[in-house]
């Protein structure tokens, strides 16, 4: 028993140094005010300012973007996973690989690539001009941010859903057909419930990081679109206000934990054999 525990030691140390201690530091900065005399006093002022109107509107915008991104990813990934599942296993895994291939490249690089593509003088606008159409302002728009988010997060939606699909025994589908269900009824009454756990995992894996994303919005949305991640970064890097920054982080963490709990709750009673 003790030997087994010893194997976990490096990870435990890692956890303490890089997760527990930083968390405590965040809580410290968010709730403790250091006076000019150097005294430390407990305060909720930073939290209150983190909950102020301006940062809340940024938070709402981030939630809105993350929600749109999640819905779009789901709408794209679910039919794709269904399609992949129906392919023969060899071809399916090749197509699946093609979907995953972009993930092997750093997402910053990919986002930079989209900057170039969407630019006023980029290839997309050149094609439009060649077709005799007026050039479009594509970069630095809301659309560009959401597009960038969907592009970056799509694999995180596709993979868990596809995994859930591969676990479905095809005899369930045949049984449904045998009992009189047409394709649509088979989808809604058998396939959808059996892939529910994959959908929930996918939604979690897209929505959570999408709320806190900051680079994509800056690169593709410019200064117009400030997301919660950008706000956070500004507090630390630009304003050097660690206290307010930490308070914002605490607000966000509470929000995350709440939504995680919500997802968990809706995941209750899911069938065995899911994810």
């Amino acid at each position: 028993m003790n030997r087994k525990k010893a194997f976990a030691l490096p990870y435990i140390v890692w956890m303490i140094v890089f997760t527990i201690v930083p968390l405590l530091l965040i809580l410290f900065y968010a709730f403790i005010h250091k006076t000019d005399t150097g005294a430390l006093i407990f305060t909720t002022e930073y939290i209150r300012s983190a909950l102020s109107g301006s940062s809340m509107s940024v938070l709402l915008l981030s939630l809105e973007y993350a929600l749109i991104t999640t819905v779009l990813c789901l709408l794209l990934a679910y039919p794709a996973a269904l399609f992949l599942w129906q392919l023969r296993s060899r071809i399916g895994s090749i197509v699946n690989l093609l979907f995953m291939l972009p993930m092997w490249m750093n997402f910053l690089l990919r986002t930079y690539a989209w900057r170039a593509l969407l630019d006023m003088s980029g290839p997309i606008n050149r094609v439009l001009q060649w077709l005799g159409l007026p050039g479009q302002q594509l970069l630095y728009t809301e659309g560009a941010v959401i597009f960038g988010l969907v592009y970056n997060f799509l694999p995180f939606m596709l993979l868990p859903i596809y995994t859930a699909f591969t676990k479905i025994d095809r005899s369930y589908v045949q049984a449904a057909e045998d009992l009189g269900a047409n394709r649509w009824q088979t989808l809604t009454r058998v396939i959808l419930p059996l892939t529910r756990s994959g959908i929930i995992t996918g939604v979690t894996m897209v929505f959570m990081p999408a709320v806190t994303t900051f680079v994509v919005s800056r690169l593709l949305g410019g200064s117009q679109t400030m997301m919660f991640g950008d706000l956070l970064e500004n507090q630390f890097m630009l304003l050097k206000d660690w206290n307010t920054g930490s308070a914002l982080a605490v607000v966000m963490m509470v929000l995350m934990l709440l939504s995680m709990a919500l997802v968990r709750k809706s995941d209750d009673g899911v069938m065995p054999g899911g994810m």
């Binding site: 025994d169 005899s171 369930y172 045998d178 009992l179 009189g180 059996l194 529910r196």
Partner: protein
Amino acid sequence: MEKQRLVLLKNVCKEFDGVEVLSNINLYIRKNEFLTLLGPSGCGKTTLLRLLGGFETPTSGDILFEGKSIINTPPYKRRLNTVFQRYALFPHYDVFDNVAFGLKIKKLPKEEIKQKVREKLKLVGLSGYENRTIDTLSGGQQQRVAIARALVNEPELLLLDEPLGALDLKFRKEMQLELKRMQKQLGITFVYVTHDQEEALSMSDTIAVMDSGRIQQIGTPVMIYNEPVNSFVADFIGESNILYGIMKEDYVAHFAGRDFRCLDRGYNNNEPVVVVVRPEDIKLVPPTDQTVNGVVTSIIFMGVHYEIRLKGDDGFEWLIQSIHSAEVGSRLGIHLDPDDIHIMDRSQYDTAESLEIKQ
């Protein structure tokens, strides 16, 4: 009394990637019949069932259901249901919702669904299990739910794909009786796939013995057992001694180094044939120069009878079932009455290799 033909298969062939798994199947299924497709694994029996269910389409030939072709009818429009090999119960539904699935698709009134589901659960002996989840049921209980789920739709035809394969022996016997009872009680036509010959013999009205994608013989269990048309059927249904021989003339067969009187005629003189002798038909007698003689090599007690192996003087190893024991090493003779000897064409089924394998 000729009952109405419910299903008719005409020259049905099925290939997978150019490999023929069913060749030229002609078969009719009468209303209210219990038909069993019996054969070893890979003989094409499950493929035939899947063709009926609509999960495969024949490469050529036609399948008629009450006189109308159904080969282009999707499974959900066919008036039949299937009990799948591993039940395929929906894990995200409880027992009630599994059984009610087909009725909900048909949008029956709620009360009617409730009543029908309850009725069928009672039929399979699972009253009160409505709210149980599938993973809390034993294999046998899952089996019953699968049967109830199929029967509740009141199909014209019920297809069962080795439904008892996963159950232990005692429970199998019990379910065999119950299935037969349900079939009688409901008056539904059953097509039953199995590789278990005992199961086939005890449950079926008609058995179709299959091998290598062909139907080898169709008939009542008694016919198939007593009058197998070839050595494959003889070997597969019950145990058999299969020997090479020749028909010397009508009613006289020569095998195992001797002439025997038999009931067969119509062969050419000295035509090569295959001789099949059931182990339970052999009588052991004191050896004389008028009998086939040999030495007992092993005796196994099987409960009702002893299974005796006797090495004949010509080297053939006879399998004999007898209610009397014998001494290993003792010398005994074999007596066969004319109706114990079954003569078959050698050309019909047996190639030299297939006989070698059997011996």
